[in-house]
C-alpha cells in the first residue's frame, strides 16, 4: 500500500489537448475572409496603377502584362470568394481549411513576383510588398508555415533576380523611373538581395514571436474563462442537486436523487452511496446508479480490506486514476469487469463525522481532476446533511409508528377483559344470576356505566392509533362514494335522534355521487363521530342537519346542530386528544375527548380538512372537505 494514497493517486488537471494549437486555426476563416476583401482592392490597385503609369507619370511599363496580373488577381479572388463558403462547410476539419488558405497565399505570392517581374525585377519598388505579405503569413499561420512562406519569398525573389541577371528571363525596365538599369550590377543585386533576405527573415522571426505570445495570452484567457464557465456550471449543478435532495425528507428518495444527480453533474455513468453499518466495520450499499446487480452483490465492503474506503471514512477525498494500478481497492477486478477504470470517493459527513462514502465511477482512466475532487466533496457534504435530516425524520416517524402500534396492542389487550366484565355484569342486571336488591342493582349499574365508558375510551384509542398507523400507507386507500357511507351513518342515528325528539335531516345536494380516495371505515368513523356529537350535545326538541354537496370538485359534508355550542376559549383545543369543552363535560360526564382528534386525523389522512363554526348556546357547524377523485385526476393531468 502506498503511504499517501491521495497525493499518489491524484492526477493533475490538464485541459483537453485538442484545444492547444487550434486558436490560430479557429480564427483562420475570419482572416481568410479579410484577405479576400483586401484582395479586391489589391487587384483594383494593380490595374489602376498600371494604366496610370504612362499617362500620369510618363513611365514606360508593360501595361498589358501588369493589367493581366491585376485581372488574374481579380479572377482567382472571385473563385475563392465563391468557394469560400462551401470549403468552410465541407472542410470541417481545420487542416483542410488551412490548406485552402495556404493555397491562396501561394497564389498571391506568385502574383506578387509577376508584378515585381513586370515592374523592373530587382529594381521594382513592388518588392517591398513581400514584407506585408510575410506579416500576414506570420499572423495567419503556425510559425512553421510562416517560415516556409519566408523561404518561398526568398526563392522567388532570389530566383527572379538570378534569372534576370543571367538573362534567362527578360528584364522589363521602367524607363522614366529607372533609366539606367541596375539588374546586372552584381554589387547592387547582391546588396539588395542581402538586405531583402535579412529583413524578410527578421520580420518573420519578430512577427511570429509576437503573434505566438499574443496567442498564448489569448489561450490563457480562454482557459480561464473556460474553467470559470465550468465552475459556474458545476455550482449551478450543485445548487440544483442540493435543492432536489433537500426538498424531500423520504430517505429513499433523497438517496436516489443524490446518486443520480451526482452521476449527472460529475458527468459519469455510475455512482454509489454506502453508509457505515451499526458495527462500524462494514459499508452497506444503500443506493447505486448505473451499476449492475452482480457488481453490487460482489461482496461486503469491509473497511479493513478496503483502504480507499477507510481513507474516505477518515474524511479524505480519494482519487483512484487507474483501478488496475491501484492497491487501494478491495475488489479491483470487479470494477474493471464492470468497465470502470477510475474512481473518486468522498466522505459523506453529518454534523459529527463521516458516516458513509459517495463514489463516482468513470469508464476512462485519469478521469477525475482536482476540481472534481473538490466538487464531489461538496456534493457529499450537502448530501450528508440531507441524508441525516431524512434519517432523523424517518426515526421520528418510526417512533411514532412504534408508539401507535404499542397503543393499539395495549388497547386490544384491554378490550377483551373489559368486554368480559361488561358481559358478566349484564348477566347480573338481566337477572340471569337471580334477583338483585335495589342497592345491588344500583351498584352494578354504576360499575356497568364505568365499564361502558372504559370500553368507549378503548375503542376511540384504537381508532386513533389505527389512523396514525395507516397515515403512511396511502396505498390502502380506495375509491369510495361518500353518499353511501354518509347515508348509512345518518340512518344509524335515526333512532337515537327520535328518542331525544330531535329532527335529523339529511340533505343530499350531490347529484354526481362524488367519490373520494379514502377507506369506508375511515369515512364511517368521521361521520359517526360528528353526527354522534351533534345528537349528544343538542337538547331535546332541537335539530341536526347533515348536508352533502360538491363544490369545485371537492366534496363537502356539513353537520349542523342547534346544540349547546362551543365556548370560544375551547375552540383552539377542540381537536386535541382528551380535551373536552367545559360545557360538554357539564352536560355529559362521560366522553373520551378523542372523537374530534380521530376526525381530524382521519380527514387529514384522506387529504381533506375539517373546520368548525360555533356559537355557545346557539349551535355548531362542522364542515369536512375532501378532494374528489376527479380533482386528483385533473391535477395529475
Amino acid at each position: 500500500m502506498r503511504a499517501n494514497p491521495t497525493s499518489a493517486d491524484v492526477v493533475k488537471g490538464s485541459p483537453p489537448p485538442w484545444r492547444r494549437s487550434s486558436l490560430v486555426e479557429a480564427e483562420l476563416p475570419d482572416n481568410v475572409g479579410l484577405l479576400i476583401s483586401l484582395r479586391w482592392w489589391a487587384a483594383l490597385g494593380v490595374i489602376v496603377v498600371a494604366l496610370l503609369l504612362k499617362p500620369l507619370l510618363r513611365i514606360e511599363a508593360p501595361t498589358g502584362r501588369l493589367v493581366i496580373v491585376g485581372a488574374s488577381l481579380f479572377l482567382y479572388n472571385l473563385v475563392f470568394w465563391l468557394v469560400r463558403r462551401s470549403v468552410l462547410v465541407h472542410a470541417a476539419r481545420a487542416a483542410a481549411y488551412q490548406r485552402f488558405a495556404i493555397g491562396q497565399m501561394a497564389l498571391d505570392w506568385i502574383a506578387t513576383i509577376l508584378l515585381i517581374h513586370y515592374s523592373g525585377g530587382i529594381e521594382s519598388p513592388a518588392i517591398l510588398f513581400f514584407f506585408f505579405h510575410l506579416v500576414i503569413a506570420c499572423i495567419l499561420f503556425q510559425p512553421r508555415v510562416a517560415a516556409g512562406f519566408c523561404a518561398f519569398a526568398l526563392i522567388l525573389v532570389y530566383g527572379l533576380a538570378g534569372l534576370e541577371y543571367l538573362s534567362i528571363l527578360p528584364h522589363y525596365t521602367l524607363s522614366g523611373f529607372m533609366d539606367a538599369p541596375l539588374y546586372r550590377n552584381g554589387l547592387y543585386v547582391v546588396g539588395r538581395l542581402l538586405f531583402f533576405g535579412f529583413t524578410a527573415v527578421f520580420i518573420t522571426y519578430l512577427v511570429t514571436n509576437v503573434a505566438r505570445h499574443l496567442n498564448k495570452r489569448v489561450e490563457q484567457v480562454m482557459d480561464l474563462s473556460e474553467s470559470l464557465q465550468q465552475a459556474t456550471n458545476q455550482l449551478q449543478a450543485l445548487n440544483r442537486s442540493a435543492r432536489a435532495v433537500t426538498a424531500s425528507l423520504q430517505l429513499n428518495k433523497v438517496l436516489n436523487l443524490l446518486a443520480q444527480n451526482t452521476a449527472e453533474v460529475m458527468n459519469v455513468r455510475a455512482c454509489s452511496i454506502r453508509l457505515l453499518d451499526p458495527t462500524g466495520k462494514k459499508l452497506e450499499t444503500l443506493v447505486v446508479y448505473g451499476l449492475s446487480q452482480a457488481y453490487i452483490n460482489k461482496g461486503p465492503i469491509l473497511l479493513e480490506n478496503s483502504p480507499h474506503d477507510r481513507r474516505a471514512m477518515e474524511g479524505v477525498v480519494v482519487n483512484i486514476p487507474d483501478v488496475s494500478q491501484s492497491s487501494l481497492l478491495q475488489y479491483p477486478e470487479w470494477a474493471q469487469q464492470e468497465g470502470y477504470y477510475s474512481m473518486l470517493s468522498a466522505p459523506i459527513s453529518g454534523k459529527d463525522q463521516p458516516f458513509g462514502v459517495l463514489r463516482a465511477y468513470s469508464e476512462e482512466k485519469n478521469h477525475f481532476t482536482e476540481n472534481d475532487e473538490r466538487f464531489l466533496a461538496a456534493i457529499a457534504a450537502q448530501g450528508g446533511i440531507a441524508i441525516e435530516n431524512a434519517m432523523a425524520y424517518q426515526a421520528v416517524e418510526e417512533l411514532e409508528e412504534t408508539k401507535s402500534a404499542f397503543v393499539r396492542t395495549f388497547t386490544h389487550e384491554l378490550r377483551s377483559p373489559v368486554g368480559v366484565i361488561h358481559s358478566l355484569l349484564r348477566n347480573l342486571t338481566d337477572g340471569y344470576a337471580g334477583e338483585l336488591t335495589a342497592l345491588q342493582r344500583d351498584l352494578i349499574e354504576r360499575a356497568l356505566r364505568r365499564s361502558n365508558f372504559l370500553q368507549e375510551l378503548i375503542d376511540d384509542l384504537l381508532d386513533l392509533s389505527v389512523g396514525k398507523l395507516q397515515k403512511r400507507s396511502a396505498e390502502s386507500l380506495q375509491v369510495v362514494t361518500v353518499k353511501e357511507i354518509l347515508q348509512r351513518v345518518a340512518h344509524r342515528f335515526e333512532i337515537p335522534a327520535r328518542e331525544k325528539s330531535l329532527e335529523l335531516r339529511f340533505e343530499d345536494r350531490d347529484e354526481a355521487g362524488s367519490r373520494v380516495l379514502a377507506t369506508p371505515e375511515g369515512l364511517d368513523l368521521i361521520f359517526n363521530n360528528l353526527i354522534s356529537n351533534a345528537v349528544k350535545y343538542t337538547p331535546t326538541g332541537g335539530s341536526v342537519s347533515v348536508r352533502l354537496s360538491n363544490r369545485d370538485n371537492q366534496v363537502c359534508v356539513e353537520v349542523e346542530d342547534t346544540g349547546i355550542g362551543i365556548p370560544e376559549e375551547a375552540m383552539p383545543h377542540l381537536f386535541t386528544e382528551f380535551y373536552r369543552a367545559p360545557n360538554a363535560k357539564e352536560l355529559q360526564d362521560k366522553g373520551t375527548g378523542l372523537g374530534l382528534a380521530i376526525v381530524r386525523d382521519t380527514v387529514t389522512r384522506f387529504g381533506g380538512s375539517v373546520t368548525v363554526q360555533s356559537q355557545a348556546g346557539r349551535g355548531t357547524r362542522f364542515e369536512v372537505v375532501l378532494p374528489t377523485t376527479e380533482q386528483k385526476t385533473s391535477e395529475a393531468a
Partner: protein, 133 residues
Amino acid sequence: MNKKRILLVDDDADQRLSVRLPLEAAGYEVAEAANFDQGLEAVKRLKPDLIVLDVMMDTTTAGFQFALTLRNADAASEYAAFKNLPIVMLTAIHSTTSLRFTPDEDYLPVQTFLEKPVDPQTLLATIKHHLEG
C-alpha cells in the same frame, strides 16, 4: 320437547360463562369447548344445532379457520354433516376493522357477526332467528 344444543367455542372461561347463563335461562342445552381442537371434537361428538364461535383463540384467526374447516368439508370428510351448521361469530375486532369481516358467502360463510361485548338480548334474538326463523 327436545332441547336445542348450542356449542360455545371460546378460550376465555369467563366469556363462556357470560354467554352460557342467558342461553341456559332461555332453555338451550349448552356445551363448551376451549380451543380449536376441542371445538372440532365436540362438534363430532355432540352434534350441536348451532355454534357460538370466538375469532381469536390460540391464534388471532383460529375462529375463521374453525368456520372454514366446517364450511369447506367435502362429502368424504368427517365434518360433511356439519357443513351447513349455523355459526354466530363473536369478535373483539373493533368496528374500524369489522366492516372488512362482515359475512361474505365467498370468503367466510358464517351467519352473523356480533361484536363483543355482546348484549345478552341481542345474542338470544340472533340465535333464535337462526334456529327457528
